[in-house]
């Protein structure tokens, strides 16, 4: 009877989780859907506490209390700008839980574990432990505890491949010989090293792919946990998590014009060999805040293109205030969001929503690109490579083929930029030398404040 009740809560939880994810297809249904998913989680926890194998509740109570104590600040106080590292560290916790359950299971049953179960268990701890250290490294890079630039050494790919081969060898051996305790723990140790060496060569701008990929690994590890301990709700959630991470990493790769292999083994950010056309002989037109404000004040339609530079400068609020001023004067303002505008999928949307910008105005690339041609002004704030027309026209450019926002098609462009330093990819941007483009140099937030003062004075 108890067992039936437990299973019923698991079924209810699975359904509520899937409905919760489905609610995310629309922003106005999303919040309620996720709250229902949280109820599903609560049901599953209560159902589990009825499990007949549980005889001692002291450690459980302690663990739940400590986890809540640590989890609460991670949910409530982390600023939205820190979302990428917050998500990276939670992949670490997720993978850690899966790995620890796997180790506990192996420690208890060891040599008696049959082959198929050992396969699931091995997969679980293998992917789990490499996700633990990999996510921690990603967290460190995003939090800037360690250098964000790719760290490479000669023979790195061969080294990583060798490690992976050895780990896979251990895994295969364990399926045939579940009693080989030393091999099991050696495999964990190697997987922990793989996690580190996998993320070391990956640079800051590639982090959206890595974070998504680690999401997928964490999901697969918990799915494998489900196989190992015979729990369907774990299998389902792991599949949902793994699938979502995988889909997002493919989307991110497409948005950056890179292949998976290229992200994982390419170490982007190292000097670009075939540098595109250089800027010699071209002149840049610089504009004063007064003139730029005048241009914006009398524009009928403005498309704002926020980049990571805007987020770094914490200028979201100033952007919204500027947009309010333009709208007050009868202009229409929209926002063009490139898929990799932030440091993780969809990050820029969250930052702008936090600044109270209604989501209808946040347009994704496919939606907004046809609209540039009819825009009076495109206001580019701290974005560079994602608005570089070389991606469309210059075959020799390293970003050729990358989907970009068609800012160059707008009637005029104002670019807020700190200096003429090239962007992350180290490529010159023709847009800045275009006759229609005016550059407003300075810190994004400072320039926006100046623009605001000017536009208010008009």
């Amino acid at each position: 009877m108890r067992e039936v009740l437990t299973q019923a809560t698991y079924l209810a939880a699975s359904v509520l989780f899937i409905l919760g994810l489905k609610s995310l297809t629309r922003p106005d249904s999303a919040r309620r859907g996720m709250q229902q998913a949280a109820v599903g989680m609560l049901l599953a926890i209560i159902g589990t506490l009825l499990h007949r194998e549980i005889v001692d509740y002291r450690w459980i109570a302690g663990g739940l209390a400590l986890g809540t104590l640590l989890g609460y600040p991670l949910g409530v106080y982390v600023p939205m700008t820190a979302m990428p590292q917050r998500i990276a560290i939670s992949h670490m916790f997720g993978a850690m839980a899966a790995t620890l359950v796997g180790v506990a299971e192996y420690y208890t049953h060891g040599a008696e574990i049959p082959g198929p179960k050992m396969a699931a268990l091995g997969f679980e701890v293998l992917f789990g432990s490499l996700t633990v250290t990999g996510s921690f490294m990603a967290f460190g890079k995003l939090q800037e505890l360690i250098r964000g630039r790719p760290i490479t050494f000669p023979g790195q790919n061969v080294f990583n491949l060798a490690l992976f081969t050895v780990a896979a060898g251990c895994f295969a051996w364990l399926i045939g010989h579940p009693g080989a305790t030393a091999v099991f723990y050696a495999m964990i140790a190697i997987a922990l090293v793989i996690g580190v060496s996998m993320v070391l060569p990956i640079g800051g701008a590639d982090m959206p792919v890595v974070v998504s990929l680690l999401n997928s690994y964490a999901g697969l590890a918990s799915s494998a946990t489900g196989f190992a301990i015979g729990n369907n709700v774990l299998i389902i959630c792991g599949a949902l998590d793994g699938g979502s991470g995988f889909l997002l990493s493919i989307l991110m790769c497409k948005a950056m014009n890179r292949s998976f292999r290229n992200v994982l083994f390419g170490a982007f950010g190292s000097p670009v060999a075939a540098t595109a056309r250089t800027a010699e002989g071209l002149t840049v037109k610089s504009v004063s805040p007064e003139d730029a404000a005048l241009q914006l004040a009398y524009a009928r339609s403005v498309i704002i293109v926020p980049g990571y530079g805007m987020a770094v400068a914490q200028a979201q609020q100033a952007v919204r205030e500027l947009a309010d001023q333009i709208e007050r004067r009868g202009g229409e303002v929209k926002y063009a969001i490139h898929p990799v505008a932030g440091r993780m999928p969809g990050h820029m949307n969250v930052l702008l929503a936090e600044a109270n910008i209604p989501y209808e105005k946040l347009l994704d690339m496919e939606e907004v690109n046809p609209q540039f041609a009819s825009a009076d002004v495109a206001l580019v704030i701290g974005a560079n490579d994602v608005v570089n027309p070389a991606a469309r026209s210059d075959r020799s450019s390293p970003i050729y083929g990358m989907p970009i926002l068609n800012v160059d098609q707008a009637r005029a462009a104002i670019v807020l930029k700190r200096s003429m330093n090239p962007g992350f990819a180290g490529i010159e941007n023709e847009l800045f030398y275009d006759a229609k483009t005016a550059m407003l140099f300075g810190d994004a937030k400072g320039s926006l404040v100046k623009l605001l003062t000017e536009i208010k004075a008009l």
Binding site: Y10, A13, L21, T25, A30, R31, M34, A37, M41, A44, I45, T48, H51, D56, W59, I60, G63, L66, G67, L70, G71, Y72, G75, V76, M80, T81, R86, I87, S90, F93, A97, A98, L100, V101, A104, Y107, N215, A218, G219, S222, F227, N231, V233, I235, I236, C237, A239, L240, G243, L247, D324, P345, G346, N349, A353, E354, P358, Y359, L362, D364
Partner: protein
Amino acid sequence: MTLTSVVQLYVFVLACFVGYLVITRVPPLLHTPLMSATNAISGISLVGSLVAAGANLSRTATILGFAAVVSATINVVGGFLITDRMLKMFRHAEPSAASSPAPGDRKREG
């Protein structure tokens, strides 16, 4: 291969299909909340951790289970809270919204 593992495989494959169909329809607008939501949901490994922590099989297994319960609970509590915090920021345009920020969710950094 036992019957159980075949059934498990069924469940896994079908869940992958459902996941694919649902997740591909999530707009890029909500990709960050999607990621934190799947994170919160993956905290379901808590159910495995609870059994490991409470089955009293051995000291080591209990401590491993305890650590797993802590990790998974962090994801459940933190994950659902932060997802909710994000989702409540996504709001409709109001007819005369221009200057009045919605109550209760002011920016922290000032």
